[in-house]
């Protein structure tokens, strides 16, 4: 009953196509075929056909400009690709087309060829040039990280990051499979607007096929033009992913990526200690030298002063000695002379002579030394030790 009612409902062409397109989404699939009839529309969208290798069945396809640019595969006649998407009726023409969301090379051989072609092209453009590589600035903190948060990669990274107060912003992104390229691209573009000092893109190892996103031309160019240095940590077997070649720093594991970020922090401690030692020791050396100089100066001055003092003392002493010696000898001499004089005087004391029995005779107050000094009859005084004897000359004999 219900079914019948629905059938009877009349709807517009436009609405019918909308309903069909909704239904057609259910037929999302991955198809492999050979490219033919490639046409580039003025809007940049690409129209092409995919032909079955076996019975030559054909389906017309569309890929929008943005997706076409993203996958970087140049569609040309005869190229074997795998397209993922769903069918859709294009309303203006009523034709059914396969709307390709993802296109990729079919087969390792083609992939390898494409890889080598792109590598050569980008290398010739100078994208991998050594002089383009930027260094990770010292003491950075704000880091952007793109990886699959489900993997072991993130644990390896955070366990090795040390404790330097990094502010890590992470975007969880698929790193392989159909949507990886688109997700990584929007992650990189998101980080372009974030205030970060370095970007780290990481994934574990894989085959060339699983590295599709990392060999994507558009992504490689985004990394080349990223405003701050980019570290790419991708494990790989043989062919180095082009994103690793274009990165400022390419390492093979997340833990090595962390050393790039922590190196300056670790060095800072050593650097600090070296500065500390240098500055303090230089200043103390200088002070010590200055002190030594002063000390030596003082020593010399003191020495001089001491010598001077010593000299003065010696000088003083000797002159004193000299004077004293001179004086005492003078004294001695004087006293000797005095003694001598005393002796002489003593010996010659007239009174002493008188005591001995000598006497002094005076005549007319003159000492009588000869008979010529006196005449008979004259009076004379004879002085003895205790008095005078007055006498008269009676006789003179010769």
């Amino acid at each position: 009953m219900e079914e019948k009612q629905k059938d009877e409902k009349i709807i517009s062409v436009s609405n019918y196509i909308k309903i069909l397109n909704q239904g057609l989404r259910e037929f999302t699939g991955k198809i492999i075929g050979e490219v033919s009839e490639v046409k580039f529309g003025p809007s940049g969208h690409v129209y092409f056909s995919l032909k079955d290798e076996g019975d030559k069945s054909v389906i017309s396809c569309i890929i929008w400009r943005y997706k076409y640019q993203l996958y970087g595969i140049e569609l040309r006649e005869g190229l074997k690709i795998i397209a993922s998407g769903h069918p859709e009726i294009y309303a203006p023409t009523g034709r059914i087309s396969f709307l390709a969301e993802v296109i990729e090379h079919a087969g390792e051989g083609e992939l390898k060829k494409e890889y080598e072609r792109l590598k050569k092209k980008l290398s010739e453009e100078g994208l991998f040039a050594e002089e383009k590589k930027r260094k990770i600035p010292a003491y950075i903190q704000r880091i952007g990280m793109i990886t699959s948060l489900n993997g072991a990669v993130i644990a390896d990274f955070s366990n090795n990051l040390g404790k330097f107060g990094f502010k890590v912003k992470m975007i969880d992104s698929r790193v392989e499979g159909q949507t990886a390229a688109a997700e990584i691209l929007s992650s990189i573009r998101t980080f372009k607007k974030q205030n970060i000092e370095a970007l780290v893109i990481m994934r574990g190892g894989g085959s060339l096929e699983s590295m599709l996103a990392f060999n994507n031309e558009l992504l490689v160019r985004e990394v080349a033009n990223f405003p701050v240095p980019v570290i790419v940590a991708i494990g790989h077997h043989k062919d180095v992913p082009l994103m690793a070649l274009v990165a400022d720093i390419a390492v093979s594991t997340p833990s090595i990526a962390t050393t790039m970020l922590t190196e300056s922090w670790k060095q800072a401690s050593l650097l600090l200690e070296r500065h500390e030692r240098n500055i303090i020791s230089k200043y103390s050396d200088f002070i010590f030298e200055k002190y030594k100089k002063i000390e030596n100066g003082l020593k010399i001055s003191l020495g001089n002063f001491k010598n001077a003092l010593l000299n003065v003392r010696i000088g003083l002493g000797s002159s004193l000695d000299k004077s004293l010696a001179g004086f005492s000898s003078l004294l001695l001499r004087t006293s000797q002379q005095l003694t001598q004089a005393e002796k002489i005087i003593g010996l010659n004391d007239p009174e002493r002579q008188l005591m001995l029995g000598y006497s002094i005779t005076r005549c007319n107050n003159k000492i009588v030394r000869s008979i010529k000094n006196v005449k008979i009859g004259e009076g004379i005084d004879v002085q003895v030790s205790d008095g005078k004897i007055n006498s008269q000359i009676i006789n003179i004999t010769k």
């Binding site: 943005y66 955070s158 107060g165 502010k167 600090l272 500055i279 200043y283």
Partner: protein
């Protein structure tokens, strides 16, 4: 964010200043004692602050969402 910025800058600047001071000592034939002491004092302060910054600081992890419109910017 601004604070963290100056924080990071400080360590960078501090180390730069310290190496300038080291150079100053290297290049002085006869050091002015007062000037030298000033430099030493400055260096000691810088070293102290920098050592403080170099102590273990936990990292912060924050998950942000990718801006889907970024994917479309080229469309």
């Amino acid at each position: 964010m601004v604070e963290k910025n100056t924080d990071t800058k400080n360590l960078n600047n501090n180390l730069k200043k310290l190496s300038e001071i080291t150079e100053w000592f290297d290049n002085q034939g006869e050091i002015d004692v007062e000037e030298g002491l000033k430099k030493v004092k400055e260096a000691v302060a810088l070293i102290k602050i920098s050592k403080e910054r170099l102590k273990a600081v936990e990292n912060e992890f924050e998950e942000i969402k990718k801006d889907i419109s970024a994917e479309e910017t080229n469309k």
